[in-house]
């Protein structure tokens, strides 16, 4: 899932300084699961903003709603009635949701309440870890199910480098060396020979280097 973390409330408040009435839109997708933008967080943020503004002598009116997902037009369409008389929209979705709202309601001031961090999973309740670099050309079958693109600080394809010490990466003792993990796992699987194959430079054009990407499935397209 996409992991996002809420911005500090004073940053959010600064973005809507001039507004008298705002719509806060939560998202029941990834950000609900990573506990940062579901209905609960949306309502908590709304009341926090109201309290803050009231204390400043400049009361704010809020409307809240949580969309099933903000990354599908059908789910944001029903927001139209709510959007009409507000001065701004605060999205608690990831960057996709913010943009979808801005595109749909192009005459409204749409602001992000979150910093979209990474694609990852939950290690335990309250701890999320990055696991995918979205490179567009997956090589996990060659690296024992451990991604060197995102888990190696240098994203090197033929590791480890000289900065690997006692299983840790030189950038921090809290970061495992991905290549050590890859080595250990391949060894356990009896596939160390696979690591002897030299990986050629990666085709980064399938990643961000090729500019914004689009995925098209003609077989499922309508009409």
């Amino acid at each position: 899932m996409i992991i996002a973390q809420q911005k500090p409330i004073k940053d959010i408040a600064a973005m809507i300084e001039d507004c008298k009435k705002v719509l806060l839109v939560g998202c029941a997708g990834c950000v609900t699961v990573c506990l940062s933008g579901g209905e609960k967080e949306t309502e908590v943020l709304a009341s926090s903003l109201r309290i803050m503004r009231r204390l400043q002598g400049n009361p704010l009116e809020t409307v809240t709603i949580t969309a099933t997902r903000q990354c599908d037009p059908e789910y944001i369409e029903p927001l139209e009635n709510l959007v009409k008389d507000v001065d701004a929209i605060i999205s608690l979705a990831c960057g996709v949701g913010v943009q979808y709202l801005a595109e749909r309601f192009h005459d409204k001031w749409v602001v992000p309440a979150q910093n979209t961090m990474f694609v990852g999973g939950s290690r335990t309740h309250g701890v999320w870890e990055e696991r995918c670099g979205l490179c567009g050309d997956c090589i996990l079958h060659r690296t024992g199910g451990i991604c060197p693109i995102i888990r190696c600080s240098k994203s090197i394809l033929n590791g480890p480098c000289g900065g690997s010490q006692y299983g840790k990466c030189e950038i921090s003792k809290d970061v495992d060396c991905a290549w050590q993990l890859i080595y250990d796992r391949m060894k356990a699987l009896g596939k160390l020979d696979k690591l002897m194959e030299i990986q050629p430079p990666k085709d980064w054009s399938k990643s961000r280097d090729g500019g914004p990407r689009k995925a098209i499935r003609e077989d499922v397209m309508i009409g």
């Binding site: 939560g26 029941a28 997708g29 609900t32 699961v33 506990l35 579901g38 209905e39 609960k40 967080e41 309502e43 949580t66 939950s122 335990t124 309740h125």
Partner: protein, 991 residues
Amino acid sequence: MVGGGIAGIQASLDLAESGYLVYLVESSPAIGGTMPMLDKTFPTNDCSMCILSPKLVECGRHLNIKTYTCADVVDIQGEAGNFTVTIRQRPRYVHVDKCKGCGECAEACPIDVPSEFDQGIGEHKAIYKPYAQAFPNAYVINKEHCIECGACEEACQAGAIDHSMEEEIIELNVGAVVLCPGFQKFDPSQLTYYGYGKFPNVLTSLEFERILSASGPFQGHLVRPYDNKEPRRIAWIQCVGSRNCRIDHGYCSSVCCMYAIKEAVIAKEHSKEPLETTIFYMDMRTYGKGFEKYYNRAKDELGVRFIRSRVYDITEVGDESKNLRIRYAEEDGTIREEEFDLVVLSVGLEPSPEIAELCQKVGLEVNKYGFAEPAPLTGVGTNKPGIFIAGAFSAPKDIPETVMQASAAAGASASLLAEARNTLVKEKEFPPEKDFSGEPPRIGVFVCHCGVNIGSVVNVPEVVEMARNLPNVVYAGEYLYACSQDSQASMKQIIEEYGLNRVVVASCSPRTHKPLFQETVREAGLNRALFEMANIRDQCSWVHMHEPDRATEKAKDLVKMVVAKAALLEPVSQIVAGVTKAALVIGGGVTGMTSALSLADLGYRVHLVEKEQQLGGVARRIRQGLKGEEVQPFLNDLVNKVLSHSNIEVHLGAEVQTTAGYVGNFVTTLTNGKELQHGVTIIATGGEEYKPAEYLYGESERVFTQLELEEALDKGDPRIENGKTFVLIQCVGSREPERPYCSRVCCGKSVKLALKLKEKNPSASVFVLYRDIRTYGFLEDYYQEARRKGVIFIRYTPENKPRVENENGALKVTVTDHVLGVPVVISADVIGLAAAIVPSSSNRKLSQLFKVPLNEDGFFLEAHMKLRPVDFTSEGIFMAGLAHGPKNLEENIAQAKAAAGRASTVLGKDHLESHGMVAVVQQDKCAACLTCVRLCPYNAPRIRNYAAEIEPLLCQGCGTCAGECPNKAITLQGYKDHMQMSMSKALFEEV
């Protein structure tokens, strides 16, 4: 049930819930025993009163527990299944049914009496209630001090006081008796060298407990009673009245080491100034579950100082401070002197003298110290069939073991009286509930004066008047005591007359009184969720007693809020499910078999699953119990009973493959493909002996583990027969960083083995190398005996462990003698290693299958370390034996019976009811994020079909999931957002 402490309360509740009528006889004016006097409890530092109080309420309210207080059992005649018990009930001078506990009588009483509950440090009036949460919630007159002035009678508006009450003799016919009279604390004034009673700053540990307690004479403020000054240096002296043969108290009191550490830790917390705490001890006996960790933390992190020295003398320094001087010898013999502001004597436990008379009359055997030790390998049995024992009367023991033994005694009583189950119990019946759907709210408000408890501060008529004008309120009235029987009857009548469909009572604490009022509204045909309470006593008249006007305003606010919520209340239906009257017991050792047999005797079907091809477990390797019991005949007999019992199906060579369902309705498949339906599960997977990597184990064939040594001894192994020098090394694999717990049984076992070796060959040299000798309870006698018979005990430290070397085939042990401080070399023929007890390798898998937790050491973690020692937080699953932690055979048997006793409270019911106020998932909003699944302490939520589902029978209504659900898909019945919002709206309406 003879004795109303925690043992009596637990055993009563277990039996009453299993379908038996219980008489609970307590000699003091209130049930509760010693627990209410304690401040915190080890090793969790839970508040003692907070964890006990729900049990007091439950016990007090139970329809099938009849409590007699101020009552002594004077005779028991008859036989198992048919006893006549004679009770002498002393006059209380207050009618329990009329007294509402308001306390006006005590206000009026002119006589001050030292409070027994506060250990004489504080005072109460001649008419008093022992402690605030006491059940019965009624006062009692101490006639010895009463001057019969009549002030209390005048003050009592309930007419409860009766100075003419007389002693009554009551005869009860019962099938089984459980003796759980508890203990009395050792009186240290007989040990004149400690100066107790002479020096004001020498206190007993129980007195210190009252000083620490928030409900104590100093409200938890740590001061010396002598001058109200805060102490800066406190010393604890261990073994006062324990391990002392000169005064016939040779036994170890088992609990003092832990309570002293706890008192030191809590004292440091309470003290505003830095506080030095020092504990003088002989052996640190922190052998229970989680105790060693507590000790290590106190020592290494919290700065409690431990000095190994027996103090023989305390003197006063001789100035006004009345501080105390302790002279003690350090380990190397250096004499030191230190000054302390306060000395606490860790007094031991002894049987109360009152019970001795009864025992003699009944012919119940007690040991030389007056304790009624259980009959061999029964855990709770006595020499009199049908009379069981539980708690500190059987041996000094702490709360969890007391609770365990109480549940075991309940289980044993239940098995004995299986035929009579459900013949005497009553069940409350209610009229069908009226349907108010679609009707507007019609709220009735009843405000209570609580005598003058509320009424003298809060202006009750004003509150009533205000309530009358609130929206939806159609009736508002007041009662002198809302909880009295006539008020209840009147309330029902008013509900009828005014067609009320919501009821609000403004009175005292919902904790104690909500169930009572809910019952009343149910009797009037209302769903119990249509009732709400405002606590205008604790929150108004008590805390604001000097500001009556503001207290009245606050009472009005609270009533306004609750009325606003009441208008939104909805009936909540309870889920009812049947119970499969069968048990699954996992583990065919002594523990599992004992549990299985207890339940089978109760008439329930039992599936006993054992992964090996034969029953018996580790006990097959044990020859004798710690008290010399012959284990093999006992074991064979047990196996035969299990195999021949028509209610037990034994599944050998099988393990659990999958399991599903919840309390009352589990379905489990075994590795042999069998599918079992069961209502409860008992996990009794046992433990294993650690295979040592140290002391040449496995390298020399003359290095044994304890179990191997025992087997070799029994078989007459020539290595043992011809041995002249034996060295037994303690703590092998226990109390080490990788296994920080104490294995508990090894000290006792080594002492027994040493004695056995000496018995075989008196001229043999037997050495025991130890860190602390932990022969708790009566095992201390064997330790004394071993020393008397010439077994040599040498203490070593973890920093300087013994060294074992093989010099040309000869075993050489080098250990530094703790007195001489020089290395001693022993040429050993045989070495016995007290190897740790390690958790069963199957624990981890079972923990995942049943979704029940393990602790850090790999043993199963109980629901509550003090009061629910065999329960898991998941209802319907229990544990016993080594699966729970290291224990000896006797203790495992008691725990096995306890687990069966607890399980029978589930199996004894024909259907289980959810308590109603459960959490409900709105599934279309659920993101299946797992938050509820991960956070629920009771394992109630599951994800099914991509959304969460909460099993109402498991949900305890705590609301954690509702609060944490990131998409607000979960609501807790009776606590919905709009209800809470309406309350704040009502509160701030005029602002």
